[in-house]
């Protein structure tokens, strides 16, 4: 099966055709925003990092920004820097070059102030827009699609209906040869052995267990024992018996396939099928990591309702809570509450999600896109100095 997408010079398939303005540092974010303002088809990343960072954090920022530029949903990139930051715009541009796209880099200090930078940047992105407009959608096999999966603002309906329905859709995409990213390591705690068991190799299984152990250790160092605090008294009153059960309710959205690869934050998968990315459970940091890894579409389940969206990738909101769907209709794309009324089977709901994913990949606008949600946050480990 195919979706209608944009073919990139490196052979990858995009679901959108954005010109992306990347501020390499928080100091140039304002200029980046001003460059993108008012230009349809141009978007920017609200990045506040890129300087004063230590340990692995500068690497995480660079990897994430480069990943966004590399994402096939982007036609061309303008990197805007300040000039004295740790992460130079040229380095980000160099990282994106292998995609074969047009990439430009400018610095506010070099150009000579904010206004001149905005004027120059606007000229450059307008040129890029003209080029982008010449490209048309063409059939691209679903095997080239990377689907990010996420849950946030969960309630009892998430584990019983929306996550299992997304899991069915994930299985359908994997059957087409596509890729599904499962992430949110802290949500694996208690069921990590069940995920590890699905890994193709013992090394991969070990990576899963190590990732979970790292997060547990970090949380304990900050005074939070996730394993002891869960399931919470509220979870138990609601019918959740064990931590394994709670975690499985989240994990189930990745479907039932074997784990083909374990990747670190914002890394591009090298295998197809179900891959695991080590990310926080923090909604926006997770979303950002998956899009930086090349996800061209994201499915996001919610019980309570959440507006989150990514700057360059469509995010499809799915809820099985009928009240939430009715109350937050402007934010919700798919209602699977019929599963909980016994009127729709999980597989049928999964089929609807799968079909919506193809429509969205082919150009249908999601609610989060319509509302202009461009949430962006890069995972970091250390303090800024």
């Amino acid at each position: 099966m195919n979706f209608q997408g944009y073919r990139r010079p490196d052979g990858k398939g995009g679901t959108r055709n954005y010109i992306l303005v990347i501020p390499s540092v928080g100091c140039s974010q304002g200029a980046a925003q001003a460059i993108a303002r008012g230009l349809k088809g141009v978007t920017y990343l609200p990045n506040i990092l890129g300087c004063g960072q230590i340990g692995e954090d500068p690497m995480l920022v660079k990897k994430t920004l480069v990943g966004f530029g590399m994402n096939p949903n982007v036609f061309a990139v303008l990197v805007v820097g300040l000039g004295c930051e740790h992460l130079f715009p040229d380095e980000i541009a160099k990282g994106i070059l292998p995609s074969g796209k047009r990439v430009e880099a400018i610095s506010i200090q070099e150009v000579g102030g904010t206004r001149k930078t905005i004027a120059l940047g606007k000229r450059m992105v307008k040129e890029m827009l003209e080029e982008a407009a010449k490209l048309t959608r063409e059939p691209i096999p679903l095997s080239e699609l990377i689907l990010g999966t996420e849950c946030g603002g969960s309630d009892y309906t998430s584990g019983l209906a929306s996550n299992p329905a997304v899991g069915a859709a994930s299985d359908m995409l994997v059957a087409e040869g596509g890729t599904v990213i499962l992430s949110e390591t802290p949500e694996l705690i208690g069921a990590e052995h069940l995920v590890a068991r699905r890994a193709r190799t013992p090394e991969m299984a070990k990576q899963v267990l190590e990732a979970v152990a790292w997060w547990e250790k970090q949380a304990i160092a900050s005074g939070q024992n996730i394993r002891e605090a869960n399931p919470s008294p509220g979870n138990i009153a609601g019918g959740i018996t064990t931590l394994e059960e709670k975690s499985l309710g989240c994990i189930y959205k990745g479907g039932t396939g074997p784990l083909e690869e374990v990747i670190t934050y914002a890394s591009h998968p090298t295998k197809r099928g179900l891959v695991y990315m080590d990310t926080p459970a923090h909604d926006i940091e997770q979303l950002t990591g998956m899009v930086a890894a090349g996800a061209q579409v994201v499915v996001f389940t919610t019980g309570r309702g959440t507006p989150a969206g990514a700057p360059i990738a469509p995010v499809i909101k799915i809820t099985a809570n009928r009240d939430t769907y009715l109350k937050m209709r402007e934010n919700m794309d798919i209602d699977v509450s019929k599963v909980l009324q016994g009127k729709e089977k999980i597989k049928e709901a999964g089929r609807r999600i799968f079909e919506e994913m193809i429509s969205v990949a082919s150009g249908k606008i999601t609610k989060a896109e319509r509302l202009g949600q461009r949430d962006f946050a890069i995972f970091k480990v250390n303090i800024n100095i």
Partner: protein
């Protein structure tokens, strides 16, 4: 009541079902499992969102939901009985810790 589905089974390997509304002891529910409709008489009250056994589960056997073990039964659990913290032992990490 009749044919209205009031419970959900998430995976065909599961030995528990989840109540989608409050179910009373003594009532019989129809549950579709592996394409067949099972009639199960409840021997406990089952609050909404809680689980009951589809079949007898021996003591120490895996309690399966989502097609995966969510713990082991701490006592023999009978078909139609409430399955929760009182008769299931968690084995986070597979019991390795």
């Amino acid at each position: 009541m009749g044919n209205k589905i009031r419970v959900i089974v998430l995976n065909e390997k599961d030995n528990v079902a989840t109540a989608l509304e409050r179910l009373s002891v003594g009532s019989t529910v129809s549950v579709e499992v592996r394409g067949l409709v099972e009639k199960i008489k409840l021997i406990s009250d089952i609050p909404m969102g809680h689980k009951f056994a589809l079949w007898d589960i021996e003591e120490g056997a895996a309690v399966i939901k989502y097609g995966e073990p969510i713990g082991r039964s701490a006592a023999k659990i009978s078909r139609g009985e409430h399955v929760h913290v009182h008769n299931v032992a968690s084995q986070p990490g597979g019991g390795a810790r």
